[in-house]
Symmetry: C2
Subunit: 350 residues, 2 copies
Amino acid sequence: MSQNSGKASIVLKEPVYILNSASVVGTKEGQGPLGLLFDKVGEDDMFGCAAWEEAESSLQRDALGLALEKAGLEPEDISFLFAGDLLGQSIATSFGLSSYQIPLFGVYGACSTCGEALLLGAMAIAGGFAERTACVTSSHFASAEKEFRFPLGYGNQRPLSATWTVTGSGAFVLGNEKALQEMRQSGAGHGRAQITGMTVGKIVDYGLKDSMNMGACMAPAAASALERHFIDFDSQPEDYDRIITGDLGKIGQKALIDLMRERGYDISSQHMDCGIEIYDPESQDTHAGGSGCGCSAVTLSAYILKQLEEHNWNKVLFMPTGALLSKTSFNEGKSVPGIAHAVVIERITV
Amino acid sequence: MSQNSGKASIVLKEPVYILNSASVVGTKEGQGPLGLLFDKVGEDDMFGCAAWEEAESSLQRDALGLALEKAGLEPEDISFLFAGDLLGQSIATSFGLSSYQIPLFGVYGACSTCGEALLLGAMAIAGGFAERTACVTSSHFASAEKEFRFPLGYGNQRPLSATWTVTGSGAFVLGNEKALQEMRQSGAGHGRAQITGMTVGKIVDYGLKDSMNMGACMAPAAASALERHFIDFDSQPEDYDRIITGDLGKIGQKALIDLMRERGYDISSQHMDCGIEIYDPESQDTHAGGSGCGCSAVTLSAYILKQLEEHNWNKVLFMPTGALLSKTSFNEGKSVPGIAHAVVIERITV
């Protein structure tokens, strides 16, 4: 089904299709530049729940429910679920998705989790282990502030390098050729895009310790994965309509472009960052941009896949980035290592 | 390479080999019944580090290093690493394994993580995406107490239903037929066992809320995965020399045997629990037994694989169990859902 030459990359011999997907976001994201594209925008960020963590769980539950509905599928049509979030012990996922009763692989890659889940979900299908899988990730501004930084009531100030954790969840239903044809015959849709290759990231640690500047902490990991990808696929920046990172923000974007230039690649024309796209820098000042597991997931579902569907783009490299810190590691004075996983996503041509 | 009939189970058409493995444990585990079987026992539980979390990271680093050495391999021989631990944001893994520079898939399934990592590591090979992968998991008594319960200095009392988190890490190097033959030709070993099938677990939540009785919380998930496994593989308890859970402990074991009896299966002759085996109930009173990601991992490496290698057993079902709680979910009054993943491990016959 595929090849691996002992390197970090895989070219899928048969593509894996993104049958359908869904995005659910909070009020701030709904008021942003992509607001009209999301499937569901909450009336408030509690989503009718008693705690932030429960609200985040409900985001995941709604996103997967919507994605299945849009694909005309039931939970029992999905063989395996690949899902995760930013909270300790991934509780948004455990409490959000248990009602679906789909066999679950919990994944953790900080804000790169959407990429990791898509890689594993696609591998399970391309390896012949499943006809359909689903991938779900989420983040929530308030649960993340509580998990990583300060209680909201503390009213702390944020430096200009800080990003704002996106309240949102994206869910993706993947399938093989047979699943795509069955969906088309049922009239539930044409399929949104196809995954054709991937590069799995390594942990990269430049020793940076500023958890309020995660863009700078993650940019080296993005550069490492991107260089590896270009080498393994013998490709160039021009081969992609967009090279899309998850949540580097403005400072991380500049760092990545510089790091790639040092490696001989100019990605300034192709680079796009979901964290920069999701909020309006004028009316929604979030400092460096948006971040979180949900940031890249909802932008992929609402905006990126739409561009591929509408043939505005042919091929993108989707590369969510993660900062592998915890409040314990931060308080113990450890660095903030990064990781990034790259997914080649193309428009469906048949 | 394999079949999936839309159910949770996979039969591997070609087995995936456990080329070699290693176990590193703390002093208490070294003094237990399996003490002499572990590859490395720490002189104290800090392992020369400044913090419990760092000590846990060093366990993972040592376990993977030893497993690679025993298999006669270098880090660059491994395509992908599947690893995780119990700490928030899996920091034991991030800081423990980054120096190996192996592409990483972070996984989280609480104490079932060793099973989850083996499933994904085997799928990556059986799917043709890698010749060799490695799987690493860990837990540490002190970092887990801090993460989930009370600071050690608080001196809290533990109820009789509580388990003792194992300080230890197990690492497993998996490979395909080609990798096995290459290792044999190099004289580095014969291969320890083969993975021939798997059943992926679902989250099962009976609404139990006692985090000091995790055996009872996890037993329903083990029963669910085990029943699914028997049905999907058309097998019976007698088909396995042992059916091995990770860390149900004495109370969970009784619950699992009862739950399976209700489903028409008597597993009382085959059932074994790593958490019961790892400590001596007389001289090392840990109440209900041992637990943690490391518990099943080090028992698999040190004891279970040895029985298969020495032909004392032919076939086991290795089924680590996880309790999907966090201190936040516990403090918010949520239940403790469980999950369990089953791996069919057989002795190598050729």
